[in-house]
């Protein structure tokens, strides 16, 4: 899942400062799940913006709407009836959503209200951690299901650096050394011998090094 978190509110306020009528758009997908841009956060942000304008002695008109998904044009189309009534759009979706909206409504300024952070997994209520870099060439099959690209601070593919202490990464005792985890898992699986297989320099193209990624399914695309 894509995870995001709300931008500092002052930044948002600055974006929309010149505008009086704001269309505040949430997304009911990833950003809802990671509590950054769902219906509830839309309501809270709207309220916060109201509070701000109250203090500034200004008037602000905020229309709240939450789309099923902001990264699909069909859903984004639902904004059409409201777009002319707004001076600016504030999107609480990930970057994909913001761009889809901006691409569809070219005359309206579209501002992001969240920072898209990473592809993460939920560790429990209210905790998300980065688990995938989208490198486009998954190595999990040989690393015991733990990704060295996403979870090693140095994306090391051939084992831990010399900075591990007590099984934790050198950057912080709160971060597990990915390679310690990989090693433990390989041992548990009886795959210790796999460790010494040399992992060659990675081809980063599928993950974006080869230019903006695009997938076209010939059988599905029209």
């Amino acid at each position: 899942m894509i995870t995001a978190e709300q931008k500092p509110i002052q930044e948002i306020i600055q974006y929309i400062a010149p505008y009086g009528r704001i269309l505040l758009v949430g997304c009911n997908e990833c950003v809802t799940v990671c509590a950054a841009g769902g219906r509830k956060e839309v309501g809270l942000l709207a309220s916060a913006l109201h509070l701000n304008s109250l203090k500034q002695g200004k008037t602000i008109d905020i229309k709240e709407i939450t789309l099923e998904r902001q990264c699909d044009p069909e859903y984004v189309e639902e904004l059409a009836p409201y777009i002319d009534g707004a001076d600016a759009v504030l999107s609480m979706a990930c970057g994909c959503g913001v761009q889809t909206v901006a691409g569809r409504y070219k005359k309206s300024p579209v501002f992001p209200a969240v920072n898209t952070r990473f592809m993460g997994a939920s560790l429990g209520q209210g905790v998300w951690a980065e688990r995938c870099k989208g490198c486009g060439d998954c190595v999990l099959g040989i690393t015991g299901g733990i990704c060295p690209v996403a979870r090693c601070s140095k994306h090391l593919l051939n084992g831990p650096c010399g900075g591990t202490s007590n099984g934790q990464c050198e950057i912080s005792p709160d971060v597990d050394c990915a390679w310690r985890l990989i090693w433990e898992r390989l041992k548990a699986l009886g795959m210790e011998n796999r460790y010494e297989d040399l992992m060659n320099a990675k081809d980063w193209r599928p993950g974006g090094a080869g230019g903006p990624g695009k997938i076209i399914r010939e059988d599905l695309a029209q």
Binding site: N158, G162, T164
Partner: protein, 307 residues
Amino acid sequence: MNTESRLEKILASGALAVTSECGPPRGARPEKVKEKAALLKDHVDGINVTDNQTAMVRMSSFAAGIIIKQMGLDPIMQMVSRDRNRLAMQSDIIGAYAFGINTMLCLSGDHAKFGDHPMAQGVFDIDSVQMINMVRRMRDEETFQGGAKIDGAPKMFIGAAANPFADPFELRVMRLAKKIKAGVDFIQTQCIFNLDKFEEWMKGVTDRGLDEKVHILAGITPMKSVGMARYMKNKVPGMDIPDAVIKRLEGVSKEQQPEEGIKMAVESIERIKEIKGVHGFHIMAIEWEEKVPQIVEQAGLYPRPKV
């Protein structure tokens, strides 16, 4: 003999090799490099030139290495995977080689978080093992990593680091094996203070016969003070400093601590010499290069053989 490296020659001769290091200055003053290198001049077989050590910006190891080379000494160019992608690395390697630098050390590098540019994006295009493999293929197969032929391949004597103390410990010998597999020629280890553990590691190395495939240079660091010992124990990742070391330094007065530190370093060398598979020493006198000759002499490693 694969290369023109002086270090390779020393090691091939069967003598114990000695290397030390020289951190380039944080500024464009070549004389600083020269001063440091001059201190080591007669006492070592190679001088490591660090690459943005501890993720702080310094003069590039490539440039500092050239300065040292021009002094007629033997630089060992360090290269970390943190700051360069494979293109930059390879171009620097052939450039360095063009200036006569023939020995290098492949590292992953400290994380940018520790340095003065924590906001920097770490590159980590390839890791240190892959770097070793890349340099080896540049040398032996005369091809770039991408597969193209090199017109004038750099014949580098390839080194890498090993930390026998970081955990998981059981992985440490395997990791060495992996580097050997990738094509490393020599290893400089992390500073050794826990000799028992180092012996245990070396036993793992020799049990697998790895000592016959690679030259291991044991890392030695003299402690300047008990404060330094404590700092290294608590703050430097991957360090293993037994309490005995700290106790011993605490046992002497503050003025005597530097002397005691040097004594301990010499004692360590004496003990490590006896360990099967150790082919030399890498003396890292952090900001204390002037003491390297003393250590080398007291440890009976002087004079250095001529090759």
